[in-house]
Every structure is written in C-alpha cells, then in structure tokens.
Symmetry: C3
C-alpha cells in the first residue's frame, strides 16, 4: 500500500476567473506514483478555488474561456454575482476593508472576492477519482479543471494531489 | 489493507432526469469487499451525472419522481434551466450542432444537454462515505442516488465503486 | 497502513442554520491517529447537513453568524428559500405532514426542512483533505465548518472522521 503526495502551482488571471486544464499533470503524477488501483484526490488549498471534472469544449469566447465553462460563469453571475463594490456582500466587513485601504494602493479592492469564496463553497474543494490500471478513471470525455474564481490580484495557487492505493 | 473496485451499469431515461436508488447495490459491494473499516467512493464517470446521498421520500409525482428529488429539479429549473434550443447556452457551439445535424436524424438535439453538464458541476461527481463495521455509514435515513441529468437520448451509464480499507 | 475512525457530536440551533467551526477537533483527531501522510474525510451522516472549508471571518451579524457564512445563507435564501409553510415544496408531502399533525404539538412544523435537504445536496456531505506531516492541509486561511441547515427542532448531530494513511 502506498501513499503518494505531490503538488504543483498554477497562476491565476487578475482579469477574470480562470479554468486550468490539469488533466495531463494529474495523469503524469498518477503514473509516477506507481499506484495501479486506488484513489486520487485533486485538491485546492485555497478558499476561492475549486476542482471540477468536465467535458472538453473546443470553442471559446473572445477572452479564451471555453464555452461550457463560460456557461458555468454565467450561472454564477446570476446566483452569486461578481462582487463589484464594498457592501455588495457582508464579507469581508468594514474593518477589513478599512485595513486594506490603509495598507494598499488599491483601496481594498483585493478584498472584494466574496463571490469567489461563495462559488467555491458550492462547487467544493476537491474531486476524488478512482485509479484503475494506473490511470484516473475519467470516462471518454472527462477533463480535470482547477478553477480559480478569484481575479482581484495576481497570485500563485497550489494544487495538491494525494494518492492512496497499491 | 485492501483496494477493491467494482462497477455496474444503469440506464438513463430519455424523457427526463432520473434518480437511481443504488443504496442496496453499494452495500452489497461493500459486503463482498470484506473491508471492515475504510472508505468507499461512489463515482460517476459521466460529465452529466452526479451522486448524492439523500433521504428516502415515499411520495412521488405522476411521472414517478420522488417529491424531494423533484424539488431538486425545480431548484435547477430556476438556476440552470433545461436547454430547450440551440443558443440557449454557449455550449456546445455552432460547429458541434452543425456536425450533429449532418450526422443524425435528430437535428443535433442530442447535443443540447448543457444543463446536465452544469448541474453535474454544482453537485459534483462522487460521494465519499466512511465504511464502519463493513457498512457504508449512511445514518438513519440516507439513501445513495445516482443522478442522470441527461435525457436527450438513451444510453448506459457506469457507476464505479472504489473501496480502500482493511 | 492505518484506518482510523472517530466521531463527535454537535448540537444544532433550533432558531437558525448554524456553522460549527470544527477545525481544532479535526486536527486533534488527525494528531491522535498518528497518520503522517494520507487522507481525512470529514463527513456528515445527516441529510440536512454539510461540510465546507472556508476562510475564517471575524465580523459577525447580530445573531452571531460570521459575515461570509451569512452571505452563503443569503445566496441560499435566493435559490432555495427557507420552507415557510406546507406546500412550499413538494416534500415531505401531505401524508407525512398529516402524520406529524397527529403526533406532535407543533402541527408538523418539524417536517418543514426541505430547504435543508436541498441545500445539503448542493454543498455535499463531506470534504476530503490530504494529510501532510500529520496535519490536514488547509492552506493559510482554511477552517472546516460543519453546517446544519436544519433548525426546525433541537437535535444532536454526528460528525464522522475517517482517516486512511500511514
């Protein structure tokens, strides 16, 4: 029985939510682990990010977002709209915004990522995938995406891969 | 320590989203695995399907859908309505619809399952359940449902059961 | 390789949905398990409860709910509003409500928790977290919350912690 851990980093996009196709990276780590049968957890350690498994979609909008994933953003724009000004949501609260104003040029704008937190709540932090014959079982069309809903400033994100099996 | 894999198939309903109660099937596989303590992952390999654990609900609507599960469909009808025509969502895009038109009698209707993809994103692909004393811990009322949101054509679906424990 | 199980109980709040910060409890159980590397599943055995990982939020509303978590309730109030009377949702159905009327003083009010079931469907039952160096990997800001969406009567809730690793 083996426990195998690895991680890698991806960058967010400071202009829009971004979907990283991390399928090949996950497959590569599963291969390296040598685990033939078991489970792999693909996990975001960030509270404004999520992991989903969805179909590859070839067409993209003008900003490069795949059609299906843009449809997902459209759904969220209806139910958890992008935070556009302080007070739109209760979080992060006046004290936090004041603190940001005192310390940053950006007038606390970096705090206005409440929508990202809430969207991440609904989607969840991780996907657990069976490993069969040393491959994550993704079906015919499944691709693994790391979703970063937070676009208020540039930053690096950690994707953890935890494998248990034999 | 054991890793135990099994799978089974269920059929979708080409007229409506369908909820398969797979509780007994999962319990049976856990028993057969011989695993006393561990975890079981109940996993859909399809991008328009999900797994949920919910209460059994005896009353059903006229089409046979249990009340609670029909309430869930009503929620989705509000936030991610059924795709009724091409262009309702960006996905699958004009090229894909054209391709479908050229190859199928059904005028590409089989592609109009974007709502299923998006609903599956929100619910997720799997549930991970503790195994205690060779039984999945479901509480007093929990039943496991495989949900197929895709009803545009008949097809078979694979449910994977992956067990790790001892 | 070790499989380690533990559980603990929390109380709901009969007046409102409640978020229990169970981070320290989960960390303590991981420490006790002695597992250095592996996975921990934090699991609700109840069909109206969920587990989320979110940022700590210091400010609270007058009723004591943290800002970010109250924002989440506001989202749900839009998409899956609190059940206020029988018939608001199909579930639990007239037979069940009648049964409750015959047996309880509260005119079946205890059955009107359909919103809790549906919210739990969307969030899911559990979170799976990598264990690295005998700690659940939560990033800089992650806290684990057990969410109880059901506030129609007082009751105890079971949180299961299942650990697999070495």
């Amino acid at each position: 029985m083996t426990v195998y851990h690895d991680f890698f980093k991806v960058k967010n996009d400071k202009n829009k939510p971004i979907f990283h196709d991390i399928t090949d990276k996950v497959k590569e780590i599963v291969t390296t682990s040598g685990v033939k049968n078991g489970i792999v957890i693909v996990y975001s350690q960030h509270t404004t990010c999520s992991v989903i498994i969805q179909e590859e979609s070839h067409d993209t909008t003008l900003d490069g977002t795949k059609y299906l994933l843009h449809d997902l953003l459209d759904v969220f724009e209806k139910i958890i709209p992008k935070c556009r000004r302080e007070g739109h949501y209760l979080h992060p609260g006046p004290k936090h915004i004041k603190h940001a104003e005192d310390n940053l040029d950006e007038l606390g704008v970096w705090s206005l990522n409440t929508d990202g937190h809430l969207r991440s709540c609904l989607i969840g932090r991780s996907e657990s995938i069976p490993i069969i014959d040393n491959k994550p079982e993704l079906g015919e069309f499944g691709e693994i995406y790391f979703v970063d809903f937070d676009s208020v400033r540039e930053r690096e994100r950690f994707v953890h891969i935890q494998i248990v099996g034999e």
